[in-house]
């Protein structure tokens, strides 16, 4: 009888951490041929327009960055939380909390000097996301409520809070749609490059990569957060206040997701609408995993995702393959990455008996 047994393997060298995500992406692109062919698309043409649509022209390239910025922020948010084993599945709700706070502030801050409006809006969005993430962190540390469940469910709570406000106090006077009034001009993100939508939020997201990398690598807090993630009991034994570490990690994580919401509102929509996020918070989970929870990895995986999303529109127009293919490819990328990650830690041994 042949049996398969899964055994733990020796830790892989450091270069594997770079090679594996790349291998996962290549495998994903190869396997994407199956759904493309099933959808009746011409293979090479589809791939060509997928990449041309995302990278082929100046405008498309900059659009890819526009799309990447919320993904990068939610990806960082999830990666930062996961590193401390705070399983934040709630970036979507935290993003909405950020957008909501930015709306309230952005509509009403006409009275203060213009230069101060945007910083206040951003800070408000960051805090709103952070506080929304702090709730499950407190539930986890004080009452041992499972964080996967609580962060996930709080997403729906936030969606409904937003809905209630958009049909209520925040609804634009005179409108019958669930949408808010427009934010004032001083609360809008400046556009940095002409003839594009390349806005301040993209720089903020890139800056966040550096900041998170610095926190992880260089600071006492980053060390503690990692220690808590690796072995919370040993961290506690070593005198680390694990409750505080989890709480602060959750706040920073939620804050980053909140900033993603601020960006969507202040750079693209200028008013709050129900579908301000097409699930960026959930994509953030995939992006964080694909990026191996490393800030630079998250940068590249968010770019990969936005290439697929932006390119799929062109591909669809030119070849008739539906844009939903982008979501299929994203899902495949996650599955393949998870399988690859599994094999970095375990291997299959065939036992003959």
């Amino acid at each position: 009888m042949i049996r398969m047994r899964i055994t733990k393997r020796e830790p892989l060298p450091k270069w594997a951490r770079v090679v594996i995500p790349i291998a996962a992406i290549i495998t994903t692109l190869i396997l994407s041929a199956i759904p493309i062919l099933l959808a009746g698309g011409h293979l090479w043409k589809s791939y060509y327009y997928l990449f041309y649509g995302a990278l082929g022209t100046r405008f498309n390239l900059l659009e890819t960055f526009v799309k990447a910025s919320p993904l990068l922020l939610t990806g960082l948010a999830v990666a930062f939380a996961f590193r401390a084993k705070f399983w934040n599945i709630g970036a979507e709700g935290q993003l909405l909390a950020g957008a909501l706070a930015a709306t309230v502030l952005g509509v009403s801050l006409g009275g203060i000097p213009g230069i101060l409006v945007l910083p206040v809006v951003m800070l408000g969005g960051f805090l709103a996301g952070g506080i929304w993430a702090a709730i499950p962190a407190i539930l986890k540390t004080k009452l041992k409520v499972d964080d996967v469940v609580s962060t996930l469910l709080l997403n729906y709570v936030m969606i409904h809070i937003m809905g209630a406000l958009l049909f209520g106090p925040l609804q634009q006077p005179g409108s019958s749609w669930p949408r808010s009034s427009a934010i004032i001009e001083a609360a809008q993100y400046p556009i940095l490059l002409t003839r594009s939508r390349f806005h301040l939020g993209i720089l903020i997201a890139l800056l966040a990569v550096l900041v998170i990398w610095f926190i992880n690598k260089r600071t006492v807090f980053g060390y503690r957060s990692k220690a808590v993630g690796v072995n919370i009991r040993a961290a506690h034994f070593g005198g680390i206040n694990t409750t505080a570490v989890i709480l602060w990690t959750a706040m920073v994580s939620g804050g980053l997701a909140g900033l993603a919401g601020v960006g969507e509102l202040c750079a693209l929509q200028y008013r709050l609408i129900m579908d301000i996020s097409p699930g960026y918070g959930y994509s953030g989970i995939v992006i964080a995993m694909l990026g191996n929870l490393h800030p630079v990895g998250v940068l590249f995986s968010s770019l990969f995702f936005s290439v697929i999303i932006v390119g799929a529109h062109t591909m669809s127009r030119m070849t008739g393959v539906p844009t939903y293919i982008a979501e299929v490819i994203q899902g495949m990328a996650l599955m393949i990455m998870l399988i690859f990650l599994l094999f970095t830690e375990y291997r299959i041994k065939v036992v003959r008996k």
Binding site: P11, R218, T219, V220, F221, Y223, K226, A227, V230, N231, R233, A234, A235, H236, F237, G238, G239, I240, N241
Partner: protein, 496 residues
């Protein structure tokens, strides 16, 4: 069972063991922790397969590759950790895995009749419809026994059954066991408690270091003899103990009480003093409160009464930070779960307790230059065998893991060192190194509390010896006046 040998990696848990069990007897399997008792019985129960040797049940050679093979031959086992489904009823738990259905449906009625008959016969009163999670530990044990009886076992293995029972429940259990053997069934009773063994067993087999050292009828032996057999007399390496005069008390434990994980009172008003330049060895069989005591000292467990003082200053209950501030060097018994972060680097483990000191950080930013210097110094000073400070800790051997642990905990020149089972699972070389380090700490001026199950280690290192039994101190004697016999009796709860 004949010539049973079982190895785990490089540890031989059972070595060439012959063991016979006769119908209608209670046979005790006696030995210290790690003597191989449970391993041997796990082999009989089909949970492990032996590397060498043969098993005959009722005269027939038995190939046991899974517990179900053993059960079908009439062997049942009640383990220390019960295998019950908490959310199901007693009856449902008992019929799990048995063929008790009519077609697609369960035949609960006839199962219940059979169960009630068994309960009456053996005096095992539990409500069949109660959900298991509502039952006390003693009642859950009854369910486990009923589970075995329901499957008509003739051989019942009980692994330290009294460890979880209150005294009255123990009496009940013993009555049940006695009524079982009257019917011609047999019981294997695994224990390290001498009193109980003498009370319940007809025969005793003593294991030590994976070998059978003796077999006795209880009517022809004494507690004293069994204690000697169990503990053994093989001596450890000779250590050079310098004469240092003990100084003032540095660690004082006053009337300390604490609960265990099951919320039972485990430390019952414990008092002891460790002085400067002194090693106090605490012997005792594990499960008597050692884990709870060391955790209370480390700040890993809340205390419910009493005080722990270092240099006269009381520690905050349940605060590891408080123990660190008071300069306690802490060597936990489970270095992998509690002491070390196996997925981080050696350096990251070495700086765990002082990474936030002004020396190593400023404004929340780590000073890696000094940290690297610190960790490289320690790796050198403790000759930790590793590819470097960045090596992942899980790549180190057991002895080197313990060196990392020691290096971190002793780097701050602690006032008090509490070491719990510091050499468990280590090879002789590493063991010697750890012993020398502990002696050096004492000579430097620390007061050391050494909690160990290894009597040889206790005798080799200690200046004074004390014994922990059921959460209280049994006695306290200078090593020069201590006899193994006396300590062995204390360990079994016998006072003279």
């Amino acid at each position: 069972m004949s010539s049973i040998t079982k190895r785990f990696l490089d540890v031989t848990a059972n070595s060439d063991i012959d063991f016979n069990l006769y119908p209608g007897e209670i046979c005790a399997l006696l030995g210290e922790n790690g003597a191989g008792k449970t391993t041997l019985m796990n082999i009989l129960f089909g949970y492990y397969t032996c590397d060498e040797g043969e098993i005959f049940i009722k005269g027939e050679k038995a190939e046991l590759s899974a517990p179900r093979d053993a059960i079908s031959r009439g062997v049942g086992m009640v383990r220390q950790h019960f295998a019950l489904v908490p959310s199901q009823t007693v009856l449902e738990n008992i019929i799990i895995g048995t063929d008790s259905g009519k077609g697609l449906f369960l035949d609960l009625k006839s199962a219940q009749t059979k169960l009630l008959r068994l309960q009456k016969k053996f005096g095992l009163q539990v409500d069949p419809d109660a959900r298991v999670w509502t039952l006390s530990v003693g009642e859950q044990q009854k369910v486990e026994i009923l589970k075995a009886l329901y499957r008509d076992v003739d051989i019942l293995i009980m692994d330290e059954p009294t460890a979880v029972l209150a005294p009255a429940e123990t009496v009940e259990l013993f009555n049940t066991l006695k009524s079982m053997v009257k019917e011609g069934r047999s019981v294997v009773f695994i224990s390290h408690k001498l009193n109980e063994v003498m009370e319940i067993a007809d025969r005793v087999v003593v294991l030590r270091g994976g070998r059978v050292v003796a077999g006795r009828k209880t009517s022809e032996t004494s507690i004293k003899e069994l204690a000697n057999l169990m503990v053994g007399r093989d001596l450890l390496e000779r250590l050079e103990k310098k004469k240092v005069r003990p100084g003032k008390p540095v660690l004082e434990i006053e009337n300390l009480s604490a609960l265990n994980d099951k919320k039972l009172l485990t430390l019952k008003g414990l008092n002891l003093v460790v002085r400067k330049n002194e090693i106090l060895g605490m012997a005792g069989i594990s499960g008597n409160g050692q884990k709870e005591l060391s955790e209370a000292l480390f700040g890993m467990r809340d205390t419910i009464g009493g005080a722990i003082k270092i240099n006269g200053e009381a520690l905050r209950s349940g605060s590891p930070a408080s123990a660190i501030e008071s300069k306690m060097g802490r060597i936990p018994e489970d270095r992998i779960d509690t002491g070390l972060m196996m997925d981080l680097s050696v350096e990251e483990n070495l700086i765990l307790e002082n990474h936030a000191t002004p020396e190593f950080q400023r404004f929340g930013m780590m000073n890696f230059k000094k940290i690297h210097q610190f960790s490289e110094d320690l790796i050198g000073a403790y000759s930790i065998m590793t590819s470097g400070r960045d090596a992942v800790t899980s790549s180190l051997s057991g002895g080197n893991l313990q060196k990392v642990m020691l290096a971190r905990e002793l780097a701050g020149r602690p006032t008090v060192v509490v070491a719990s089972q510091p050499t468990r699972g280590l090879d002789v070389g590493a063991m010697e190194y750890i012993h020398q380090r502990i002696l050096q700490e004492k000579e430097r001026g620390a007061g050391v509390l050494l909690i160990s199950e290894d009597l040889d280690e206790i005798f080799a290192l200690s200046d004074r010896i004390t014994v922990l039994y059921e959460g209280v101190i049994m006695g306290d004697v200078p090593v020069a006046e201590a006899s193994r016999e006396q300590i062995g009796l204390w360990m079994s709860g016998v006072t003279k």
